[in-house]
């Protein structure tokens, strides 16, 4: 295994860790706004790390370009979706939870 491969592997695993964090946040956080926050940020960081890892692994500029594009568009889509969902929740009259354990 080359050094590049090991770096890629470490990045991929780190990406997975972020995905895990996002999912835990989605399941454990108390209200919809916190969950949004967890998911949108952690998952996109995870996606970024995975894309970088795969780019190193493939060692091909064309592939790297596609991966970068996927990540950027993913970022944009996640941002807009999170915003829209939060807006919907807000207009539905959801009040952010102040503190305390998850409701369910």
């Amino acid at each position: 295994m080359t050094i590049a491969d090991s770096i890629a592997l470490i990045l991929l695993l780190a990406g997975c860790a972020f995905y895990l964090a996002g999912t835990i946040g989605l399941l454990r956080f108390p209200d919809v706004y916190c969950r949004l926050h967890a998911l949108a940020k952690a998952d996109n960081t995870g996606l970024c790390l995975i894309c970088v890892g795969l780019a190193i692994l493939s060692a091909d500029w064309q592939v790297a370009a596609i991966l970068a594009l996927v990540w950027l568009v993913g970022l944009l889509a996640a941002t807009v979706s999170a915003h829209l969902i939060a807006r919907h929740a807000h207009s539905a009259g959801r009040v952010p939870a102040r503190s305390g354990p998850s409701r369910r």
Binding site: V73, L76, A77, T79, V80, H83, L84, R87
Partner: protein, 313 residues
């Protein structure tokens, strides 16, 4: 080994999502599960070595299907907010045995089909043998346009028939309002459109061009383009219209018309019916079909006969 574990997991999620999309406690959850099931299906296609199908499933499932279901759901709850409270599913003692029998039948058939002595797939072999002389690299595109082009011609006719039938049953009142989000000027939406719209157009053109050699093709490209149109309708940039528009109608039919006319033309110089004269014809028909497929899907979504541009803020 790990590949098998992966397949198993994909299958478990497929099954779970399928159960949930039919049996979820509310219709909304059912829709979500069904849309997600489409994504999981594209993973399954990827594992089954069918990237063309993965792409078709992703393009249609992530874009148009979800939007169609959501809009239909919205129209339903506008009529009756409480869609299912009064519904008691008819008690049927036979349902489970019938379902088990049907599933078992399919399973036994499938297993037997795998185990059976592999017969030479004559048609498939012929496709792979003849592909070299056509200048195409993707055998599926070869099948869809050259060897079994008539299927594809009829397939876009079916799509057109679905649109015409849907229009025939769509009530022609209050066409205009209920498609867009309440506020087309929500921040960020403009930025999203500014990037995603050109990108979808680019990607669909790329898929079209790539379709001859690798994964892609008119349907995938058209579905992506349709998703772009749906996006524009949802954000209020395009509106449903009742006005006859020659442009929209021509776009709707350009695929079918090009296919028929280019398919009939060889008869004039003594060639067989539907024998496409060269690669340019394939690319022309594919492009025309892409436009028609995209417009058909957008019109199916909008539930209207035509589209018009809409000004906003």
């Amino acid at each position: 080994m790990i590949g098998l574990a992966l397949d198993l997991l994909i299958i478990v999620s497929l099954i779970g999502l399928a159960i949930q999309s039919i049996n979820a406690a509310s219709l909304f959850r059912g829709i979500l599960h069904f849309v997600v099931l489409g994504l999981a299906m594209s993973l399954a296609w990827a594992r089954l070595d069918a990237p063309d199908l993965a792409m078709a499933e992703a393009a249609i499932g992530a874009g148009v299907t979800g939007a169609l279901m959501m809009i239909a759901y919205r129209r339903l709850i506008e009529i009756q907010p409480d869609q299912e409270s009064s519904l008691r599913p008819p008690p049927s003692r036979l349902a489970v045995p019938i379902a088990l029998a049907a599933g078992a039948l399919v399973g036994v058939i499938g297993l037997a089909a795998i185990q059976a002595e592999p017969m030479p797939a004559l048609a498939g072999t012929a496709v792979l043998e003849n592909l070299g002389s056509t200048g195409l690299g993707n055998p599926i595109t070869g099948v869809l346009l050259l060897f079994r082009g008539f299927d594809t011609l009829l397939e876009i006719t079916v799509l057109l028939a679905a649109l015409l039938s849907a229009q025939a049953v769509t009530r022609q009142v209050d066409l205009d309002q209920s498609l867009t989000t309440q506020d087309p000027d929500t921040p960020l939406v403009g930025a999203l459109l500014a990037i995603v719209v050109p990108l979808t157009v680019l990607v669909s053109v790329h898929l079209l061009k790539a379709g001859g050699q690798e994964t892609g093709g008119a349907f995938q490209a058209g579905a992506v383009l349709a998703a772009c149109g749906v996006l524009l309708v949802l954000t209020g940039r395009l509106g449903a219209s009742r006005q006859y528009s020659p442009l929209v109608n021509t776009g709707l039919l350009v695929g079918l018309l090009s296919f028929i006319l280019i398919g009939l033309a060889p008869l004039l110089w003594g060639q067989p019916l539907l024998a496409l004269p060269g690669l340019w014809a394939i690319y022309w028909i594919e492009s025309a079909m892409m436009i028609s497929i995209a417009l058909t899907l957008v019109l199916l979504f909008a539930g209207a006969g035509s589209l018009k541009r809409r000004d906003h803020g």
